[in-house]
Amino acid sequence: MTLLADKQVPAPAARSRQRRSWRELLQPRYITLAVAALVVAYLALVPIGTMLYASLRSEFLGTTPGTWTFQHYADTFSAPGFGQLVLNSFLYAGATAVVCTVFGFGLAWLVVRTNTPAKGFARIAALVPLIVPGILNTVAWSLLLSPQRGPVNVLLRQGHLPIFNVYSLVGMVFVQSMHVIPVAYLMGTAAFTSMDSSLEEAALASGSSPVRTFRSITLRMARPAILSAILLMFIQTISTFEVPQLIGVPAHHYVFVSRIYSALQNFPPDYGTVGVLGVFVLVVACAGLLLAQRLGRASAVQTITGKGFRAQPQDLGRWRWAGLAAFLLFFLVAVALPIAMLIWSSLLPGYEQPSLSALRHLTFSNFEEIVRRPGLAQSVKNSLITAFASGFIVTVLTAFIAYITVKTKIRGRGLLDGLATVPIAVPSVVMGVGVLYWYLAAPLPVHLYGSLSILIVAFVTITLPYGMRYLAPGMSQIKDELEEAATASGASWLQAFWRVFIPLLMPSLLAAFLYTVIVSFREISAAIFLYTSGTEVVSVQVYDLYSNGSYPVVAALGVVMVVFLSVLAGAVRLISRRFGIKSG
């Protein structure tokens, strides 16, 4: 690439290095790099910095000037119940992580490594986290499993079995797992697909029994992937809002996220404590992510692929029907049940047990309510605006970043890549609080707080890494020669980018755009800290309505959300398959 730059500036090699580098710096590609780096750095670092600042100041957003202090840290860590809070959080996130990884990897093994007839369910399972947002999953399960009226518990009681109270630690782990297992499943699929099955066959041919082979070869080979999946599930669980708030709080089981939320709901808000808790979660998440990356690197070294590489499915014999049963069960529990519950509740004016007699009350009035209630219609509009705006901004931004990091050898591109992935390590709750702090405190000419822009800023930051995930591989699929041919035909860099890269990238761009829209649309963990009256988005509205007890309307809104997200997710899948984009 730098060679190309040489061609554009026909300078003899004898000329001084300095003069050339000055001219190079003024080229559009370097200006683009600089702008992109500044924007990304602003988005990724400023909120975290502000939160750190708040945690270290005696006064934040106060009228009196403050001083630097560690007082908040000392207060928070020594407060009664802090140990319990840490324990609760780790117990909840740890248990969820292990459960998800065991089930997710188990399902992935069945799909990738055996002849279980379940490929159709596998495809659906992969889409679940996209089409059922966490908040809806939580709402649906708390309706299904509510101790008194939840239909599952009613059935259990009729069968004289002990009921399952969702408002407990086990309930929290269960509901969160239902949402996260598909993610673990996807990670497991990746791990098992990249494993050469002749490694297992060699063990069998060495006289090792199938069980022993599974234990000492398959599991051992997948160990780095398994551990890193556990860490990632842990981070995701410890940083999301809906389950701890909707299920944990009624169960009096407080974790970091719910504590942060309640500390900000108090008046006056305890900015210092929230800052400290935010930093704490951030540190935990970063440590986990670093560890996971290391494990990932270790496992990358371990995969040897030769010419004879195959991922041969293993014949389970009659056991494959048990595998199919596992899939059916998973599909029924994780996908069908919550959605059925939402649909059922959405069609009744007030909540009723599923029964034949209740069929007489079926009505579409809840859906009419969405259109009629001004707040609801407004929230749908807000969600659409913020999601599409974030999608557009992220797509354009990551297209440039991906070009710079994948296609050029400009110095500093590594830093840019690093900055763009920082938001992965920042829990959405922390991001929400950070963005909130910055726009409350920053001496900016325009006040974003109270407008939709602040939500867009947060969504853009959170979804940056997702955009990169689609565009970086898409970009590396385009051969360098294509751009070189354009330049050799006399096109400037901008022309080459616009006329060659953008058209070829279109599928990736579209997939990245839709995916970002989906992620923004279902996002609540950051949005819950950033909305004001008039700027509620749908996910926040669902939470509000649920807290007020208007379950039927929540359900109707949920159904609309699921339909909308299904269409988008289907489009992403279609595009990815059609054009062979590898994501992840």
Binding site: S198, A205, S206, S208, T213, R220, I304, K307, G308
Partner: protein, 384 residues
């Protein structure tokens, strides 16, 4: 030692009419190295995997050392881990999370009765010694080069002293120079141990170099089977002939059969073929000739020489390849001692060698030419 009877394996999944392995009968004698040779998709690897028990046959019996290990009709299937085999995969399949010695010791550690660790280690060291890797025992396995991994895989396959050694294209991932060395080494080890070995390859040179016996496969069938030199010199089948690089074929009719062989009329030409097999006068046959089995000269030395013109020439350094036009036919001729190259349009005379011409009956040709068996070699031959 290994006996396959009516072995059949369908393609997995969809109902494809063709079988991956279609009723193979094969006997592999004790202590011999037998090569399964054929183009990709001919069923050779599937056959090996069936012997190993990594795939289940749909029909037919597999016996190893007199014991039936697979017989679907009688619901007999001995799992891979209970068969007396050692296997080397194309990708070596060295476990990357273990050291070299741990890899080699693994078969012993899962064996029953389990030997003591020190004893197992000693046996493993002997196996490593056999392949010349004793000094590398403590290294992590992925740190080894391709050739070394190959040797580790071989040591691992042999350490249990299996009755049968199975090699699945073991040399195809190695670069050219190393391939020859490893090939010789595998043969040396096999002969020293006298272990019954099945060697799968698509490379004819490899097959000819290492085998006691070559089994040529295509379309899930055994085409023919015999000593390497017999298969190479006088293939009995068109497919074998083409697969082994006999690129010239001329169709004709047997004129007469005498003590010197058969005289075959090939259009306006005729030639004597010493190795005519069971050819009868009046029979339609194809005569196959290797590129190097012609004498090419500018002048007519004998009555048997055919006049032709050079179509084009390719220089290889140690030899020339000429494409010679004889009326409608185009023959490939390889000449070793030619100092001066001939050019397009030069008139020459070709004298076929009666000893190396191969006569294959035309009836057999029809029988073998079913569409699904058309290999690239066939396609090339047919365009002529």
């Amino acid at each position: 030692m290994i006996k396959l009877t009516g072995l059949t394996k369908r393609y997995p999944g969809r109902s494809v009419t063709a079988n991956a392995v279609d009723g193979i009968d094969l006997e592999i004698p004790e202590g011999k190295l037998v090569t399964l040779l054929g183009p990709s998709g001919c069923g050779k690897t599937t056959t090996l995997r069936l012997i190993a028990g990594l795939e289940r046959a749909d029909r037919g019996v597999i016996e190893i050392g007199g014991q039936v290990v697979s017989d679907p009709e009688h619901r007999i299937f001995v799992g891979t881990h209970r068969r007396p085999i050692g296997i080397v995969f194309q990708s070596y399949a060295i476990w990357p999370h273990m050291t070299v010695i741990d890899n080699v010791m693994f078969p012993l550690r899962v064996n029953r009765p389990r030997p003591k660790k020190s004893a197992a280690r000693e046996t493993a060291m002997q196996a490593l010694d056999l392949v010349g890797l004793a000094d590398f025992a403590e290294r992590p396995a992925p740190a080894q080069s391709g050739g070394q991994q190959q040797r580790v895989a071989l040591a691992r396959a042999l350490v249990r002293e299996p009755k049968v050694l199975l090699l699945d294209e073991p040399l195809s991932n190695l670069d050219k120079g190393l391939r020859g060395r490893m090939r010789d080494e595998i043969r040396a080890v096999q002969q020293r141990l006298g272990i019954t070995t099945v060697f799968v390859t698509h490379d004819q040179d490899e097959a000819l170099a290492v085998s006691d016996e070559v089994v040529v496969m295509n379309g899930g069938h055994v085409i023919e089977q015999g000593l390497p030199q017999a298969i190479y010199t006088y293939p009995q089948d068109m497919f074998t002939a083409r697969f082994l690089g006999v690129s010239n074929s001329l169709d004709g009719v047997v004129d007469s059969v005498g003590p010197d062989g058969a005289t075959v009329t090939l259009g306006s030409r005729s030639m004597v073929c010493r190795q005519s097999g069971t050819a009868q006068p009046g029979e339609r046959v194809s005569v196959f000739m290797r590129p190097e089995s012609f004498r090419l000269s500018r002048r007519q030395h004998s009555e048997d020489a055919w006049p032709g013109t050079i179509e084009f020439s390719i220089y290889h350094g140690d030899c020339w390849d000429y494409h010679v036009r004889l009326d409608d036919d185009l023959l490939k001729v390889r000449v070793y001692q030619e100092k001066v190259g001939l050019a397009h349009g030069d008139s020459i005379f070709l004298e076929p060698d009666p000893d190396s011409a191969i006569v294959i009956s035309g009836d057999k040709q029809e029988a073998e030419q079913t569409p699904e068996e058309a290999s690239p070699a066939d396609a090339v031959a047919r365009t002529r």
